[in-house]
């Protein structure tokens, strides 16, 4: 493993040779991101088959703790990363959105596997949501059905790279004012995304205006 001091050192700012073991100069962004990327705690949250591979990734052979991510938190309030590991169903999506809203910022979402990314093999099912990104913003997509532990690790390393690239000046969680929670979907005759309510209203009005056209359908 590389010396973290060297990893953080800003080469543009010279430090006298005799002080290099005592002092290192870096930017706030760098040290902030470095500590965040190496202590990204995932939420202990399994949905389906992919959760089994997620557990295998956390077990001794693939060993998630090498990346500072072994502390899986069952509570959303203590987690930084939500690994959506499996098929997202309509019945489950209100809970997932609620959990996402409960996570403190900075927070990230990793869509693990085909189902969480876009519905996967079960996309056509009447109770299946075609991808987690229909409801919450996703940072990293990991393909596979299920992704192998290696693929998940690669996804997590990709997330670390993304964290490296963020700047404290522009990140959303240091902007003025609180961030808006995502409206929790409602279980109606089918799932209702409150953000789509205007569209739903408009389509219902159209259908009411032209009942003949609807009957043709």
């Amino acid at each position: 493993m590389t010396n973290p001091a060297q990893e953080l050192m800003n080469p543009a700012l010279p430090v006298p040779a005799d002080m290099q073991t005592n002092i290192f100069i870096t930017t706030l962004d760098k040290i902030y991101n470095w500590s965040r990327r190496n202590s990204c705690w995932p939420m202990m949250f399994g949905l389906a088959c992919c959760a089994i591979e997620m557990i295998c990734t956390a077990a001794s052979r693939y060993d998630l703790s090498r990346f500072g991510m072994e502390v899986m938190r069952p509570s959303a309030r203590q987690a930084d990363l939500m690994i959506v590991s499996g098929t997202v169903t309509k019945k489950m999506v209100p809970q997932i959105v609620r959990l996402y809203n409960q996570m403190p910022e900075p927070k990230y979402v990793l869509a693990m596997g085909a189902c969480a990314s876009g519905g996967g093999p079960f996309k056509e099912g009447y109770n299946v949501v075609s991808g987690m990104d229909k409801y919450v913003p996703v940072d990293v997509y990991v393909p596979g059905c299920p992704p192998t532990p290696q693929a998940l690790l690669h996804g997590l390393i990709t997330l670390q790279k993304k964290i490296d690239g963020q700047s404290i000046m522009t990140v959303p969680w240091y902007q003025k004012g609180p961030s808006e929670p995502i409206p929790v979907p409602i279980l109606g005759p089918d799932i209702i995304d409150p953000r789509q309510a205007p569209l739903l209203r408009q389509l219902a009005a159209q259908a009411a205006a032209a009942p003949v056209a609807e009957a043709k359908e």
Binding site: C49, F122, G125, V128, E214
Partner: protein
């Protein structure tokens, strides 16, 4: 174990016992009896009490759209072994009402709720007829043949080309919302009041104990669906008196991914990878059950080598599953992750074999109608031998040595969650849970499939039916699996692995078939109806994880709330199969 030869379903003379009420099912390639709806309870009671068919394995519905009928199909078994007694009851589609069998077979409880939810059959006399996989308030009964999902394209695959003129489109583009949603005509957001969980909690409210000097209220506690010890997205609602459980309701459907509806759109072959994703810890044995059901319809048999390889893979799967189950049972007991890590380590070695033979660690998709997809790759046989003869026996002994006499395990598990023999049968429990309650019923013995009649092994049996026995029986079963594996490895013949040419489109003659296997979690059955088309007309899965939950409430009552997760862990459910 002496098994009295069970009467076969043909010499029961049910028609003579119930003149006018029972008729043989005469449709081509169909078996069983069609029972008049009003006589169903009477016939089922007689089958249970007089004919010895005490075990209701599966109850499911079929929608015969063209005849305008809905049909319930019941598979009853004699616990001495032998084939099923199939009873069928029909109801008109527009007014589907049938008597509930819960009073005769309590194991029908969840299955009838599922039939109500997905097919809209109303069961009179059912104690708690609510939706189970979908939520209350959902529009329609989705498994009916005329119910179309939001992304509906055609009745069956293969679809027409999805990129006419070279331009592809996505299913979202056909939907005005860009989502997988569909609303009934005239639906408005304002007119909708969500049901929420009112219906669920209504029957479980606070009850004040009368006669006690101190006024105590029962409280309702909700566990899950996001809970670290529910083995997935499973939800449990318990009513507590202090810390003691008074009532418990399992709530499921959070992973209901419409396996059966998709399965009826798929071609027969396309369903094999979907079966992997049922009980995703033991995909190989899921394959086997489905393949057996379709092979029954097609009337083909795989070659010898394929049979042996199937048995080897299925028994390895059993060891895999039991290792996982034991590891996570210990997790639930509070030994957080250390025992699980030991178990997962061995499981990884078995997964390496699966990856080598099938190309995937978990979703093997390895079996085909009439054989296997490919033979063992070079070099894997030596590794298999090393595992089966050397490593796994040693490691199972090691696990046994560490855990079985551990004081904490004994004090937390002995006498907890007892399921007596009679109840286990009545609630249609299956697999290790049934056998831990003293019922020596194992499909591999009771109705041998594949080549299980050639191997010398014992049906693991324990008598007490508590959590401890359900743990120990899994160690026993792993040892028995090793016995089978060693014999299969010894006798493994050479030769082909596939009958006939591999084909993309299986031609399946019309008829019905029920293929069942002893999955690590219990009896897994596939009820398949073909009409001669490329797609199955009906594709139902008798899921052991689902039906084993029927008795979960009974097992927990009277215990402390901390025991709920342990009892659940000892039943060993997988949500992919529970919810399908």
């Amino acid at each position: 174990m002496a098994i009295a030869p069970a009467p076969t379903a043909t010499d029961l003379k049910l028609e003579e016992r119930f003149p006018g009420a029972v008729a043989k099912d005469t449709r081509k390639n169909y078996t069983g009896y069609i029972v008049a709806a009003d006589k169903l309870i009477e016939v089922a009671t007689a089958a249970r009490d007089q004919l010895g068919y005490t075990y209701l394995s599966s109850a499911t519905a079929v929608d015969y759209l063209e005849e305008g009928k809905l049909e319930m199909v019941y598979h009853l078994y004699n616990l001495g072994g032998g084939p099923a007694l199939m009873l069928k009851a029909q109801a008109p589609r527009d007014d589907a009402v049938l008597p509930s069998l819960v009073s005769v077979f309590p194991g029908a409880d969840l299955q009838e709720r599922e039939a109500w939810d997905l097919f809209g059959i109303r069961f009179t006399g059912h104690p708690n007829l609510k939706r189970i996989l979908m939520w209350e308030g959902f529009e329609g009964h989705p498994m009916r043949k005329d119910w179309k999902e939001a992304y509906y394209e055609e009745d069956g695959k293969p679809f027409e080309a999805r990129w006419p003129g070279g331009e592809f489109y996505r299913a979202e583009q056909n939907n005005p919302f860009g989502h997988n949603v569909k609303y009934p005509g005239g639906f408005t957001v304002e007119g909708w009041t969500p049901e929420g969980d009112k219906a669920l909690y209504a029957g479980m409210g606070a009850i004040t104990e009368a006669g006690s000097a101190m006024k105590t209220d029962h409280i309702v506690v909700n566990l899950g669906p996001q809970h670290p010890s529910t083995h997935g997205v499973f939800r449990i609602v318990v009513t507590l008196d202090g810390e003691t459980i008074v009532d418990l309701q399992p709530v499921m459907g959070y992973l209901h991914r419409n396996h059966e509806k998709i399965g009826e759109r798929n071609t027969f072959l396309q369903n094999i990878p979907f079966t992997d994703r049922l009980d995703y810890i033991s995909s190989m044995s899921n394959n086997l059950g489905y393949v057996l059901a379709v092979e029954k319809l097609m009337g083909i048999k795989p070659p010898e080598r394929a049979e042996y390889l199937r048995v080897i893979m299925v028994e390895l799967t059993r060891i895999c599953n039991h290792l996982w189950a034991i590891g996570f049972l210990l997790n639930d007991l509070g030994a957080f992750f250390t025992p699980a890590l030991y178990a997962i380590k061995e499981r990884e070695l078995i997964l390496d074999v699966f990856e080598a033979v099938s190309g995937s660690r978990m979703m093997c998709n390895y079996m085909r109608f009439g054989g296997l997809v490919r033979d063992l790759p070079a070099g894997i046989e030596a590794r298999l031998r090393e595992l089966i003869y050397e490593r796994l026996p040693r490691k199972i002994d090691e696990l046994d040595g560490y855990l079985t006499n551990n004081e904490i395990i004994r004090s937390r598990c002995l006498g907890v969650g007892v399921l007596p023999r009679e109840q286990a049968i009545a609630y249609s429990m299956a697999g290790p849970v049934l056998r831990a309650s003293g019922v020596p019923y194992d499909v591999r013995r009771a109705e041998p499939y594949s080549i299980y009649d050639r191997f010398d092994f014992n049906v693991a049996l324990r008598e007490n039916g508590d959590t401890y026995d359900r743990y120990v029986i899994r160690i026993d079963e792993m040892r028995e699996s090793l016995k089978i594996l060693q014999q299969a490895m010894r006798d493994l013949p050479g030769g082909d692995i596939q009958t006939g040419k591999p084909q993309y489109q299986a031609r399946v003659p019309a008829g019905e078939a029920y293929g069942r296997v002893e999955n690590p979690k219990g009896e897994l059955g596939y009820y398949v109806i073909s009409t001669g088309k490329p797609n199955p007309y009906r594709y139902h899965i008798r899921a052991p994880s689902f039906i084993n939950l029927t008795a979960f409430g009974e097992m927990c009552k009277g215990h402390k709330v901390a025991d709920v997760v342990v009892i659940l862990g000892s039943i060993d459910i997988v949500l992919g199969e529970t919810d399908r």
